[in-house]
């Protein structure tokens, strides 16, 4: 495989493959991986993919990501596949699945939504009403959140 030329195989951990090109940093951000945790993290961007044309790949050595964690990345990487690696062997392979409810990853865009009020006992919560294109609806104020808005937020812009 072409990525083997760029990044070496990992012995134990998680390989997130088939990330849409250019979104690997957003994936890391959603997973809360900053680099300060001490895991060996490798990432390649814009490598050739038969399926996608171009793709990104993220490898996290020493950490197996749970389904719940991994499903969150479906917001920016619905095509991603997850490989759990033990002793250089892929022991589990699965696709990400966008949950029906998204909690605490993105914020409501409505400035008058109660979830944007400071110091209140509330977290943003969305229901997924469309997967392609992605469309979420705020459970508190009913405002839509579009795919572009989700991606812009996760890019930190």
């Amino acid at each position: 495989m072409s990525e083997e030329l760029v990044v070496r195989r990992i012995s134990n951990g998680t390989v997130i493959d088939h990330i849409p090109a250019g979104r690997a940093l957003k994936v890391l951000r959603i997973l809360g991986i900053t680099g300060e945790e001490g895991y060996m993290v490798s990432m390649v961007m814009n490598v050739y993919s038969k399926k996608l044309g171009k793709k990104d790949i993220v490898k996290v050595e020493g950490r197996e990501l749970s389904s719940e964690e991994v499903n969150k990345i479906a917001l920016v990487a619905p095509t991603a596949t997850i490989n759990i690696v033990r002793d250089y062997e892929v022991v589990e392979k699965r696709k990400v699945e966008l949950p029906d409810k998204i909690e605490g990853i993105v914020r409501c865009v409505n400035p008058k939504c109660v979830t944007n009020a400071p110091r209140e006992a509330v977290h943003p919560s969305f229901r997924v009403i469309s997967r392609k294109p992605l469309k979420l609806v705020c459970e508190y104020c009913g405002e839509y959140l579009t795919e572009e808005e989700v991606i812009a937020q996760l890019a930190g812009t």
Binding site: N110, K112, C113, V114, T115, A117, R119, E120, A121, V122, V137, C138, E139, Y140, C141, G142, E143, Y144
Partner: protein
């Protein structure tokens, strides 16, 4: 089909049968002391006249007592206490909490925090379920039917919570047609239009007036405009007066959640079309029925 302990957050939480049961109770001229010993908390974080006074009246007419505030001055919120903490405190004191707030979703948050049932008395620009009940009750009382009528909804359909709630509750019925009459900048958001199940279209008032059975008028709410210049530009763009109504059906009724400013001329008040004061009066029996049903 009991409402006991139920939160009233959105008109969409109710079925047609549940609403009509409420209407039957409201129209039965019931009175008594069914709320004796009960305390209703009126938490009005945003000003209100009709909604607050009709909740107070409804409580008193059923023998209950109320506590609360109608402005954040004079409360600990002015010292920086959060909405969440205020609700937790009221939950410890009262049997039901009626909430009015400028933030959208505030009533849902209150319901999550409080064990007592929460009634949304208007939060932000989208939801005002008890107003929608009163509006629908007015149609039910004054026209005897709700289905198969032609409705015109006029005014600020974007920032006004009453028109949005009324449109949502009409989804439970089968109107023949709903005309949305609003300047382009005040048309409903996609979030609302997507939910409409009845035949609807944008229209011009003079064109559709002769067809209407019910004309629901709302105020342009200055405080909802992000830009005051935009408000100045559109405020005069619709107005109903007696001369205009000569083209209306004889039995067409006009509703308005009030307060009105100048969208309905005073000469309309004495026409048989005007039902908005009756509508305001219906606020008390509807809220009596609701409090009686909701308080455990």
């Amino acid at each position: 089909m009991s409402f006991s302990g139920k939160d009233v957050l959105s008109i969409l939480d109710f079925t047609r049968n549940e609403l009509e049961r409420l209407f039957r109770i409201a129209s039965s001229k019931f009175e008594g002391d069914e709320l004796k010993g009960k305390v209703v908390a009126l938490a009005f974080f945003e000003p209100s006249t009709r909604t607050r006074l009709s909740f107070e009246t409804a409580t008193l007419r059923l023998g209950g007592g109320y506590i609360g505030f109608d402005a954040v001055q004079g409360t600990s919120i002015a010292k920086g206490e959060t909405f969440s903490d205020t609700i937790r405190m009221l939950d410890a004191y009262a049997d039901v909490i009626v909430v009015r707030h400028s933030l959208e979703g505030a009533a849902k948050l209150a319901a999550e925090l409080a064990e007592a049932p929460v009634i949304n008395a208007g939060d932000g620009s989208k939801r005002h379920p008890t107003q929608a009940m009163i509006d629908l009750y007015t149609v039910w009382r004054e026209k005897k039917v709700i289905d198969n009528l032609v409705y015109g909804i006029l005014g600020d359909l974007r920032y006004g919570r009453a028109s949005g709630s009324f449109l949502r509750v009409l989804n439970l019925y089968s109107p023949k047609k709903v005309y949305l009459i609003a300047p382009e900048s005040l048309r409903p958001k996609e979030e609302l239009l997507d939910t409409l199940k009845m035949p609807w279209e944008f229209a011009d008032l003079e064109e559709v007036l002769p067809e209407l059975d019910v004309l629901y008028v709302t105020r342009i709410q200055k405080e909802r405009f992000p830009d005051p210049a935009e408000y100045e530009r559109v405020k005069g763009s619709y107005r109903i007066d007696a001369a205009l109504l000569k083209n209306a059906k004889e039995d067409m009724i006009i509703l308005h959640p009030l307060p009105r400013v100048d969208e309905i001329a005073l000469d309309v008040d004495s026409t048989p079309h005007a039902r908005y004061f009756k509508q305001a009066a219906y606020g008390v029996p509807i809220r009596m029925a609701l409090l009686r049903e909701v308080i455990p």
